[in-house]
């Protein structure tokens, strides 16, 4: 099994969710992160001095999936998250050795 992790722009979450839904992926987990990259943050003023806010808010999306669907999922996420502007984020894939559904104790592919 695989874990697809994506760091995307917050406003693209809806599109990504839709795209995954279309592929039949029913579950996912998201969290708030802050990204630092080529995209530069904005400046804020405080008492006449300017400060650069370097980190920008991003959303991390995690989807557990089987080996077969992983490519489709990556492609779907990349397509849905793209705005073409700097700061669109990254998607990466790692191997998962075991998955358990807590409610039932099912393991492996059944747990997805």
């Amino acid at each position: 099994m695989k874990l697809v992790t994506a760091v995307i722009k917050p406003h693209q979450l809806d599109a990504v969710k839709e795209a995954l839904h279309t592929l039949g992926v029913a579950g996912l987990t998201v969290s708030e992160v802050q990204g630092y990259g080529r995209q530069k943050g904005h400046t804020e003023v405080y008492r006449g001095a300017e400060y650069t806010v370097e980190f920008l808010p991003k959303i991390r999306v995690e989807v557990l999936t089987d080996e077969i669907d992983v490519e489709k999922i990556v492609d779907a996420v990349v397509a849905a998250a793209r705005t073409g502007k700097i700061g669109d984020g990254k998607v990466w894939v790692t191997a998962v050795e075991e998955v358990v559904r807590v409610r039932t104790g099912e393991r492996g592919l059944d747990a997805l």
């Binding site: 406003h11 992160v33 808010p57």
Partner: protein
């Protein structure tokens, strides 16, 4: 018809506005102390009380409390609907209708005070029902007993601004409801930490500010009694802040802001019945005592295992008792009237005895009736929310809302806020027009 005193009228207009502000102040004070998943429900209990009790006061509350007298027990319905008061006159220099408006605010806040005992677990509809019944069966008659020509006032019990009628009354009802509704899931094992202490302090500040209207406005005029009440209210409250945090400092090692805020309220409660009867040094003594004892009284609920969530009993009931009884020690004849000197000022035990009668009568009556009303509601339509609603947050269960929509990284910047998480994605129904189905729990 006595002539209108425009200065007195100006002060009571102001005082009425100040006392109105106390109820939202209370909503903030209480709301900040709950967890973030039940703050709206907490605040709605106050706003609901404002809405309902204001109307009942016009319909018949004022009349029961202040119009006529039947055997010292209750007024009659001669002023129901406040009809005919538009030009009726100016009792003591202020328009009668202004007095009715000023007293309306007292009825509202007294009811709202009770709600702190049942934070996190009371359903809103049953609360409104309780509020209406308790105001009708307890507050209106008790106000008559104390201030409307009823038996307590006639007996000679002193209660300038509401130690018995307001605070003991509400505190006893709070105890009854805490018992009827039972303990919250996880209490007392878990800590129920205030979710927003600056909000608690803001609420305490608005209460303090409004309380000048409550106490000094109870003089009914802009005169020396109002002046004494104002300064005594200030210094007793200041002393109670110190009293409470010193107890914490000695006992726990650190003074807390929750303690400072609670101490302020304890001092305000304590000085309420006594404010026009003491010299400032007496008020300071009263405040120190009220602050320190109420700080200790908070421990009672852990000992006796009742979940008075926001300490209405320890602050309002205990504070009200302290203030009412200390009049018997600290009253000054020139202020409290001939024969009413306190024990420490050369008076006898009689005043203290009278005060005790007033305290006990209101305490017992309010507790018993509140318990019966609460119990009846719980057994019929159900007062307490479901465990699931309580655990997942009563705000959503009762009001289909959640209080805040921040994000971890602050205004404007949070990823979840930007993504619309929590704010949800698509509306279930196109909001072209309001939907008509019921909300699913």
């Amino acid at each position: 018809m006595p002539e209108l005193d425009s200065g007195a009228t100006a002060w009571i207009l102001t005082s009425a506005a100040l006392v109105l502000l106390m109820t939202p102040g209370l909503a903030l004070f209480y709301g900040g102390m709950t967890r973030s998943k039940s703050v709206l429900n907490m605040m709605m209990m106050s706003f609901g009380a404002i809405g309902l009790v204001s109307l009942l006061w016009v319909f018949y509350g004022y009349s029961i409390a202040f119009s006529g007298d039947i055997g010292g027990i209750t007024g009659d319905l001669s002023a129901a609907g406040l009809r005919g008061m538009l030009e009726s006159g100016t009792e003591g220099g202020i328009p009668d209708l202004l007095f009715a408006g000023f007293q309306l605010m007292f009825a509202v806040i007294t009811v709202a005070l009770i709600s702190g005992a049942i934070a996190d677990r009371a359903r809103f509809g049953p609360w409104l029902l309780f509020a209406g019944l308790w105001a009708t069966l307890v507050y209106f008659p008790v106000a008559h007993w104390v201030w409307g020509g009823g038996w307590i006032g006639e007996l000679g019990v002193l209660d300038f601004a509401g130690g018995t009628a307001v605070h003991i009354n509400a505190g006893a009802a709070a105890l009854a409801l805490a018992l009827v509704l039972g303990r919250r899931v996880g209490w007392p094992k878990d800590k129920f930490k205030p979710h927003n202490l600056p909000m608690v302090l803001l609420g305490a500040a608005l209460l303090w500010f409004g309380w000048f209207g409550f106490n000094a406005g109870s003089a009914g005029a802009a005169d020396g009694a109002a002046a004494v009440s104002l300064i005594n209210t200030q210094v007793a409250t200041a002393a109670a802040v110190l009293g409470w945090i010193v107890v914490e400092w000695l006992r726990d090692g650190k003074p807390t802001t929750l303690g400072a805020a609670s101490g302020a309220i304890a001092g305000l409660v304590g000085i309420t019945p006594a404010c026009a009867f003491l010299e400032p040094l007496g008020a300071i003594a009263l405040g120190l005592i009220a602050g320190a004892i109420c700080a200790l009284a908070v421990g009672l609920k852990y000992k006796l295992k009742y979940d008075d969530s926001l300490d209405v009993v320890a602050v309002h009931m205990v504070g009200g008792i302290i203030g009412s009884l200390l009049i018997g020690f600290l009253a000054i004849e020139v202020l409290s009237g001939e024969g009413n000197a306190g024990l420490l000022y050369g008076g006898g035990i009689k005043l203290l005895g009278l005060q005790a009668v007033g305290v006990i009568a209101v305490l017992v009556y309010s507790f018993v009736v509140a318990y019966i009303i609460g119990f009846a509601i719980e057994k019929t339509i159900g007062f307490r929310a479901s465990t699931e609603a309580e655990v997942e947050g009563i705000d959503n269960a009762e009001h289909a809302e959640s209080a805040y929509e921040f994000s971890s990284t602050g205004g404007g910047g949070g990823a979840f806020a930007a993504a619309g998480i929590g704010t949800s994605a698509a509306p279930k129904t196109e909001p072209t027009e309001p939907v008509s189905e019921k909300v699913a729990g």
